[in-house]
Symmetry: C2
Subunit: 443 residues, 2 copies
Amino acid sequence: MSDRQPVDLLIRGGTIVTVDDADRIIPDGAVAIKGMEIVGVGASQQIQVLYEGKDEIDATGKVIIPGLVNTHTHLAMTIFRGIADDMRLEPWLDKIWKLEGEFASEENCRLGTQLAFIEMIRGGTTLATDMYWHIDDTNNVAREMNFRLVNGPIFIDFVGPDGVAPEDREAVARKILANIQDDQLVHPCVLAHSTYSVPEELLKKAGEIAEEFGALFITHASESMAEVQTVTEDSGKTPIEFLDALGLLTPHTLLAHCVHLNDAEIALLAKRDTKVAHCPESNLKLGNGVARVTDLRAAGVTVGIGTDGAASNNDLDMWGEMRSASLLQKGMQHDPTALPAPQAFRMATIEGARALGLEALIGSIEVGKRADLALVDFEKTHLNPVYDLYSHLVYAVDRSDVDTVLINGKVVMRERELLTIDETAVLTEAKAVGAKIKAENQG
Amino acid sequence: MSDRQPVDLLIRGGTIVTVDDADRIIPDGAVAIKGMEIVGVGASQQIQVLYEGKDEIDATGKVIIPGLVNTHTHLAMTIFRGIADDMRLEPWLDKIWKLEGEFASEENCRLGTQLAFIEMIRGGTTLATDMYWHIDDTNNVAREMNFRLVNGPIFIDFVGPDGVAPEDREAVARKILANIQDDQLVHPCVLAHSTYSVPEELLKKAGEIAEEFGALFITHASESMAEVQTVTEDSGKTPIEFLDALGLLTPHTLLAHCVHLNDAEIALLAKRDTKVAHCPESNLKLGNGVARVTDLRAAGVTVGIGTDGAASNNDLDMWGEMRSASLLQKGMQHDPTALPAPQAFRMATIEGARALGLEALIGSIEVGKRADLALVDFEKTHLNPVYDLYSHLVYAVDRSDVDTVLINGKVVMRERELLTIDETAVLTEAKAVGAKIKAENQG
């Protein structure tokens, strides 16, 4: 026994859905974790001979999956969930911008971000890609709660709730990015809101800074018909063409939404190896429609899945999003074989990681990768019998079936109990802040 | 104190979403229940002065809603969940029919029905409208578990797993219907599978028997393009026109799916006051598309919501279905104001009841109606802050937030514990039967 290598955590007895290239599923499998890293994956019998865990988790009856990867959201807007629904874009924006002006303080954004991370951890999501204000604060909440985040400075053509004017964005961006160097949890990106809300020069600048810092460049693109029309009228180019003309379509660019694309644009994204964050439920809820996911994937474009913000979805549930992604392609194409369950599951895991340029680090359960994992409890009446694991994972699992979650090797939820935050305190604060916002909003 | 009227159960301190005609929401409300019936609804202070409960439930922090009404499903198919996904209709039917021939025994159908009722109770659904085999057994499971059911004999043009030939269907139907007279939980209907699977004479006979017994007439109609094409080629009429020619479009007819309707058909359904069961996720998953729900409602057609069976959805989650119903109308019409949250919620409650002809009995929280209720726990981080109750109910609540459920005045789940069935025993049996089916299915 003494020749077993000591590891920090040994998870054993569960069915491992590795999502590796061979798409291995290991019944009665074990994962050995040392520090942040996965050091062993295989049959429980083999792994237990090799490793001895300081801590052990019995995963019998559970399915071990890579943590879900949320490629697009606006975390802190969770405090505004449900405040402006069933509205057209213009009055919605008016309302949200007014609210942000009054309530998107550093303190409230910290709270909104905590709410968002709690919701995501409880649902087995281990990474979020943010786009919002008070970036340093958000990054600090991620570090405190041990949540993996892709985040960075934002470029937009007005003074935001952060009080920064457009001409000061570059300097602020450099400071923010300097604070995310060699971070084990926060991965840098540069956020430009969109081609219609950021002037050409500022867009170019954002792109240059992304390249300089080796950071992902992220922007909203072709989300609504109105956006495509506006940009085309103003510039003679669609948003996609406009970004390409500025040299901003690269393999290190992630475009959120991409609902309205023509064949040429899909071919162009494929040629440039530019990535897409698909937000199926937000696209429906805001009346934008359904993105051509099957066509994008057929052309070779990497497509991840995102929830978008809680003010426009209204949950941060990647399971529902993954299911909707699959069902919508079948329904729109009148083809029940479109986007089958295993493909939808890959989009929510390894493909999401690839969309963020993080596929070497996360997105699958493999030796050498970071331990971002979720254990899903299959000892439930609504998940039995089991004929096909992927079918259940995509079409039948609820996020509340997630039992235990690890991020970067650390257990952040164990048997439904959150370990890196006082959830009750956050709930109390959310009620108090909500009451204040509600009172003002009605006034 | 002694002049308070004794009642069996007093639920107090919760926010009541009555879904009555005035759409009353009562903060800190109470519901008094005597036997099967609601005898008091109002502010807790008022109700507590009038009634004394033998049993009491403190609903502080919870939202009290009418139980959700599932207007279309195939209960026992829950044992086949996930066995045949991402397939075209023809191979799917071949596979399912083969499986049913081998495994749709009385015993297995009882098990599948138990699984379905457990799943629905856990999610706050208190009524299901079934269409399957072994009807007497299913009805008995409903009585044993105290679940409300709309069910009745089926008409179809082949010998089913129940061993009944088409020519014997009428006699069997009369027996089944005789067993559902004056039942407090099982409400009678007559099921004809569809215009393409039931010959004209048998369809007419099914309609006559429904009328004779005062039962709802239910059939699948205009679910797929192929169905509309086949029926039109064979008869010169669309399924809707065909049913009308037989006099089967009445106010006591419920049509499941209705995905492919033209304007004239919508006007006809409105004129006949024929009801529709909308199954948004099944319609996507089987590649059929999106029903014209907003147009149907605008024309005055009553539309309820259904999950369809677990073999083609794959969950029996009315929350997800309600959300999908709303989001899909917004997305398809490029209009974020389409089918707003309060309307979607009414479709899943009172409109569903109306679709089944049961609106005088259930579907809202009002004095004189049966106590079919669910308590939803809002003391959750993902449900705070609250700005708009309906928004949270439709766009943010998970079915696992349902805490306590009553059907016909009886508590069937209390604080997530099922009271009318041994859930562990059902889970064990489901695994055993599933293993057997899986082994045969692979062979």
